[in-house]
């Protein structure tokens, strides 16, 4: 489960920045095209924080839908799944959103 290594990276990054302060919550941004499942992410985050200054911290997830820009007709379209096709029928599209996998912020104190 790749969510576990992602959760471990997130926890390592926030703990390093938190120093000896407690981390109360962490906010992540996860795009629809990243193959990261929010429920699995929540579960693994709960495991990864154990014994760290972020133990018991809450994980807030901002979900980002996918979007493409069509090189054929110029339209920008939000997509619910990964079938990268413009409504005009063209598959010549560039992904403009949905690949985000970021740590947005954390609450310490």
């Amino acid at each position: 489960m790749h969510e576990l290594s992602i959760a471990e990276s997130v926890v390592a990054a926030v703990c390093e920045r938190a120093g000896d302060r407690r981390v109360h919550s962490v906010r992540m941004r996860i795009g629809a095209f990243t193959a990261v499942v929010p429920d699995a992410m929540q579960f693994c985050f709960g495991l990864a924080v154990e014994g760290t200054v972020a133990d018991g911290a809450r994980l807030d997830i901002e979900h980002r839908p996918g979007a493409v820009h069509c090189r054929a007709c110029g339209a920008d379209t939000d997509l619910a799944d990964m079938l990268l096709l413009c409504p005009c029928g063209s598959a010549d599209v560039a992904v403009t959103a949905g690949r985000e996998l970021q740590i947005v912020s954390m609450e310490v104190g």
Binding site: H2, R17, A35, M82, L84, V104
Partner: protein
């Protein structure tokens, strides 16, 4: 970095209370460290003319058999080395070693993928000679390895005709990152219900830029197209 202090609620009683918390804006990529190591590996390999090809598949696609044949058929053309990612056993590494090729095994333990740090450690241990064609046999699954850049030149996804032709739709993340899709075991096409044209359409639906080659690693059908791809200027 932006730091904002949230004021605590006003109060006039002197007892101890939890101090105000602070929200710290981080705005960093989760995989920033992985991607930085991958970039370092990529530039080191490029500097020595080493081409790394990341092979990904589900278990049973015939990836190790394809690798054995490829190593034997390319014998002498240029040095070949293999990084073998495996969750449990050294069996695949032993099969590759019997071809006489340099191989290093990476045990990922419970991990379901190779990451750039494992790749860097494996490259250090292997120390391939300049000009080597370096195959990376990733851990057998079609989900997790898609996320992790290893510093490779190209990503190849291998499926076989004994799997469903709709595999690209079921694992779109993996097929979306592929430079090349190999459909293996075409010698079994008469005996299975696999629509090769539909499979090609499904690959294009999630990745219009990916090439698709159909071959048989056991019988040798159409393996030359794969070797041509490996030696094409785009890969070199």
């Amino acid at each position: 970095m932006r730091a904002t202090r949230r004021p605590s609620a006003p109060h006039d009683h002197p007892h101890a209370h939890s101090p105000a918390t602070e929200t710290i804006s981080l705005e960093e990529k989760v995989l920033a460290r992985n991607d930085a190591i991958a970039a370092e590996v990529r530039s080191r390999l490029a500097h020595r003319g080493i081409v790394a090809v990341n092979l990904m598949s589900s278990p049973g696609s015939g990836k190790t058999t394809l690798l054995e044949r490829t190593i034997r058929d390319l014998d002498g053309d240029r040095p070949v080395a293999v990084i073998e990612g495996d969750q449990e056993t050294p069996l695949d590494a032993e099969r590759i070693r019997r071809t006489g090729c340099a191989v290093v095994q990476v045990n990922t333990g419970a991990g379901c993928h190779l990451d750039a740090a494992m790749m860097r450690a494996a490259v250090n241990k292997l120390d391939p000679s300049p000009g080597t064609l370096l195959f990376v046999e990733n851990v057998g699954n079609l989900i997790c390895p898609a996320l992790f850049d290893l510093g490779e030149r190209a990503k190849v996804v291998i499926i076989s005709v004994t799997e469903g032709a709709d595999k690209p739709l079921k694992y779109p993340h993996m097929f979306a990152v592929a430079d090349l899709v190999l459909v293996n075991k075409v010698d079994l096409l008469p005996y299975v219900d696999f629509d090769l044209d539909a499979c090609r359409r499904h690959v294009s639906a999630v990745n219009a830029g990916a090439r698709v080659l159909a071959l048989s690693a056991t019988r040798g059908d159409d393996v030359d197209a794969w070797y041509d791809w490996l030696t094409a200027p785009a890969i070199r």
